[in-house]
Amino acid sequence: MNLLNLSIKRKLILMTMLTSSIALLLSWASFLIYDLISFRSLLTQDLSTQAEIIGYNSAAAMAFRDQTAATATLSALTAKGDIVGAVLYGPNGKMFAHYFRGEETLPELQPTCSQKKSYRFQGQYLEVCHDVTLNGDRVGTLFLMSDMRQWSMRAQRYAKICFVFALMSAFLAFLVSSKLQKLISGPIMHLEDTMKMVSANKNYEVRAVKSYSDEIGSLMDGFNAMLSDIQQRDTALRGANEELQTRTQELEEEITQRRQAQEELLKAKHVAEEASRAKSTFLANMSHELRTPLNAIIGYSEMLEEEARGSENSGNIQDLQKIQAAGKHLLSLINDVLDLSKIEAGKMTLHLETFDVTGMIEEIVATLQPAVEKNRNTLHVRLADQVGMMRADITKVRQILFNLLSNACKFTDHGSISVDVDRRLEDGRDWIRFEVVDTGIGIGAKQKENLFKEFAQADTSISRKYGGTGLGLAISYRFVQLMKGRIAVQSEPGQGATFRVDLPAQVRIETPDSAPAEGTSEVPSPAGAVKTDRDTILVIDDDAAVRDLMSRFLTKLDFNVFAAGSGEEGLRLARQVHPGIITLDVVMPDRDGWSVLNQLKAEPELSEIPVIMVTIVDNQGLGLELGASHYLVKPVDRERLAALVEKHRNMHSSAPQTVRIPVSMSPDGKHVGPIGAEIVRRR
């Protein structure tokens, strides 16, 4: 394992040395073996010859039985160092003469020579048997034994020489292979160095230097080609990376710019929304502020007109009527602007109640009668039998129809106007359709486009000729949308116009707290629980003009009127007189109407008295929630007020009436007379 992990250099050296050593050893071994074998046969031959000579020399002695001579002959072997011993046997096999080197004895040699002439190797000894003959007659046998000393010495010498030569040749082989291995390992190591340099520094400009055109040379060529390939790709990659970075930076800058722009836009949007809200709030406030003095103007002009009719000073009547008309026009304008600003501020809410459509239509028709007659038009109302009840915001439905009909009256002269009401099923839902058709001047295609947009009356000249703000249709359109209905127009110039409104018979409010705010949450008051005067009305309002007007109007309706200028006074009076009905203003100094209402509902003796909110604040929901029976917005529609108070009086007509005062004094001492004129509120 470790050998395999050696460096190429070491491996090459090792291989060379191993190969050369093996070759050398093999050749040496073969030479030595051959040499030793031949040397041994030489020795054998030599010994045989020696035996022959000695045999020859001792033959005569043997023949003549001359033991001394034979021994003398054998002693000549002293010169031969390697002969251990020699024995001459007689023909009968008995030892005749012998010679032993030194003190040695060879007892084991005794019975050896069985064959006539032979040699054999016995251990490290070579034994030779030789027949001694004299002229062909065998006279004895000679036995010679050699320890092959020469041979073993020679072998030892060879081993030494071999060892020395092996060392020398290994050293030489090491030297030579160390030099030669560089031919192969040199380029490879250079390649390795280059590779390390490339991988360590990621420097692809480095190239391996080719030394020879062998396999390693072509390997280097391939390596270099690969390097230049990688270098190209690296360069391309780096370029692409830089481009990517530049692009990314550009993108980031763009994103930053856009974000800034977006923030600016958001700011601008906030500013704009703020401005819009401020505008709407301002408009709403202004409308309230404008309406308060108008209340007085219209109210008092009506009162004056009434009084004028009673006297002979009838010349002022027409002037008073003009003041009234102008006031009402201004009021309608203000109301429109207020509605629109509410819509835009998103504060317009629906107050759903269930009502009879027929009744509502009749009410509108009655209200509109003067307008119809003004241009000598005729009005036809067609009601389908199954129209019945619908659930919607009655004030808004009323306003939509009022707008459409007053427009029809306005643009039609000596013509006919018709209202068709029908109930139909469409898409599995119950719809009520109102269709207002006139035979008036009609609407051009171009005007139709802007018909439902704010402040876009068909023509500015129309405004001058027919009057109006041009907000009526826009507001109607918004109301229809609010109730998830549809409004459409069909018209040709000079051919009259047809407005069609489709409203769901059951309008739904799509807000989480769709608490059904019943417009008329009639609280049945158990009669006789508390002693109240059904003909007594308590008016609570901080505005003296309102108190005056209300007192006069209600007195005309045969009510016993008490008036209070503040919430505290109102509560005190209520506890005193236990009125049948209370009208309550909201915006008052010290204690506002909500607080007074709460207090009234909290006191058991007063909680049963129906409270009609009469206020500029348009928050019907809160009022009804706190326990108010009705909610009227100033300027008060006298007819509605009259209808409401009459309803409550009749409801309790069976109740015993305690006091009935035809005329009463208002708290400020002024006489309150009957109010003849009526405030027409268009909503």
């Binding site: 020859y56 005569a60 002695a61 003549f64 039985r65 001579a69 023909p91 004299l134 065998r138 006279v139």
Partner: protein, 192 residues
């Protein structure tokens, strides 16, 4: 052959003086020696008429061998030549057969003929015949090989000059075992 020599060696070891056995064993050894001499001496080629001509051994004088020599040499051959044994009673008989002398290769002169040794030697002088004796002073007085008893062992003396004169070539191996005896002066020989 081996068996014979073994027998000789075995019988030669004990007392050589005992009359019967020692005498017979002594001559048994001597017979072996004669055979060995025949092996180690080279005669001139002309000595033998044919390649398979026998080596003739003549025993001069009293024959102590008896049948021993015949027994020992029975069937033996040296260089393809068998042995033939002749017996001569005395020197004069030798003289008679002088014509046949050239056919003799070995002449064993018994101690009984010692007094007439010089004469005998004179007779064979110049003829390639190996003379073997068993009497002290034999070799010194012109004999070639003399067998002697020494410490109960049979040994031999060789007169190299005499052999050379007779044109016989004695192997050095034989000489290495022998006691070389010089030729006595001529007057000395005459005096004997």
């Amino acid at each position: 052959m081996v068996a014979i020599l073994a027998m000789l060696t075995a019988s030669a070891a004990p007392d050589a003086r005992s009359q019967d056995t020692s005498a017979s064993s002594e001559y048994l050894i001597k017979a072996g020696f004669i055979y060995n001499f025949a092996n180690l001496v080279q005669w001139p080629a002309a000595t033998f008429p044919q390649p398979d001509s026998p080596i003739v051994i003549a025993i001069l004088g009293q024959d102590h061998f008896g049948t021993t020599l015949d027994r020992v040499l029975q069937g033996k051959k040296v260089n393809g030549r068998p042995f033939l044994i002749k017996r001569l009673k005395s020197v004069p008989e030798l003289l008679k057969s002088v014509a046949e002398l050239k056919e003799y290769q070995i002449l064993f002169i018994s101690s009984s003929e010692m007094p007439r040794l010089a004469e005998a030697i004179q007779i064979v002088k110049g003829i390639p015949v190996l003379t073997i004796g068993e009497t002290p002073g034999f070799a010194k007085n012109g004999g070639m090989i003399n067998l002697i008893l020494e410490d109960n062992r049979v040994r031999f003396e060789v007169n190299v000059e005499a052999a050379k004169e007779a044109d016989l070539n004695i192997s050095s191996r034989l000489l290495a075992l022998a006691r070389i005896v010089p030729q006595a002066p001529a007057d000395g020989r005459k005096a004997e």
